[in-house]
């Protein structure tokens, strides 16, 4: 369910972010409670809570006292923005480095992209 590479709470946070981006979770929609999350994924509730509080800190979720956690109204936009900014540094640049290593020129890449447009 969760892998060994990073803390589960980060994986939880990333999972929820993905759901928001993909539209599975809509803005102002209520998220499962930490206890429900814990029971569903068979993890300690404190871990789920940490994931949620990370998202609250990042503005992706907000808390309605006595009711639960909800997706922030501007969450999707915020996440898209962040992903956009990191896209070139984390996805494109490594791709270019790999291309360089195996001898593929930028022109070749552009041509390929042209076909895919």
């Amino acid at each position: 369910m969760f892998d060994d590479r990073s803390p589960i709470y980060l994986q939880i946070a990333d999972g929820i972010k993905d759901d928001v981006l993909s539209g599975v979770l809509k803005e102002d929609e209520q998220v499962m409670s930490t206890n429900q999350y814990a029971a569903f994924y068979q993890i300690n509730p404190a871990t789920a809570a940490k994931g949620f509080s990370t998202l609250v800190d990042e503005g992706v979720l907000y808390k309605k006292r006595g009711i639960g956690m909800f997706v922030s109204p501007d969450a999707r936009a915020k996440l898209l923005d962040g992903r956009r900014q990191r896209f070139f540094a984390e996805v494109v640049d490594p791709m270019l480095a790999e291309a360089r290593m195996i001898g593929i020129g930028v022109d070749e890449i552009v041509a390929h992209l042209g076909e895919r447009k």
Partner: protein, 297 residues
Amino acid sequence: MIELQDLTVRYGDTVAVDHLSLTLPTGKIYGLLGRNGSGKTSLLSVLASYRKATSGSITVDGVDPFENAGVMRQTSFIRDTLDVNGADRIAKVLDFAARLRQGWDAAYAARLLEMFELDPRKRVSSLSRGQRSSLGVVLGLAARSQLTILDEVYLGMDAVARTAFYRELLADYLDRPRTIILSTHLIEEVADLFEQVIIIDRGRLVLHEEADELRGRGVTVTGPAAAVDAFVAGRTVLGDQHLGGVRAATVYGRLAPDEVQRAQGAGLALGPVGIQDLFVHLTSTPAAGPRPQEALR
């Protein structure tokens, strides 16, 4: 709050727990990991008031638990010997618990018996190893003690029974939070349930951390020996393997993204280290070598 200060447990010349200090806030699920002979059971015995420490102090919510009725009433210690009358039938064992334990939930106990497929008419002495463990789980969970200590209760239980146990444990904890200390060898199976992990080795504390922080706390670096040597220089290396000119080093610590790129650039392969492997590495430094806690500095 459970506080251990400089706790030492000695049996004649043998030191089982060596000046151990630990602070455990109540209400959490703790995983206690340690090899056989690490002092785990002695530590748990002291916590449960089954044994007095040789020196040092232990307090549970400010009081010494040893022979303290208030603390002992609220403590359940389940170990493989079960500490019940072997000649009794299971029903009688549960009846005894119901009479003696204030918070005992008989209905819950009955449900658990069914879940583990235990026949209340069977005598404890006639149970298989796995069934005894299941009974131990029933006794530990149905008591709902504020301090529940389960010492390797899974021994002999098959995977199905263990899964049921973990599921029940979490469900009941979510319903009624309390302090639960689980000692186990089967770390990978149950690590997700821990809030904090305590590792002890040779009577000393090796590590006490949030369980989740341990995930990704180790990296295996594999590649040509020279490149690996260069990369791991200055880092804490927990384990090593060589095959021909290839070296695989297990490094303690997390790599930053730029370090990851550097490693990949140097032609090194990086792999995750599960908590179980981390535990093995942290507790298997040979007796003559540096102690694990020193290795972590």
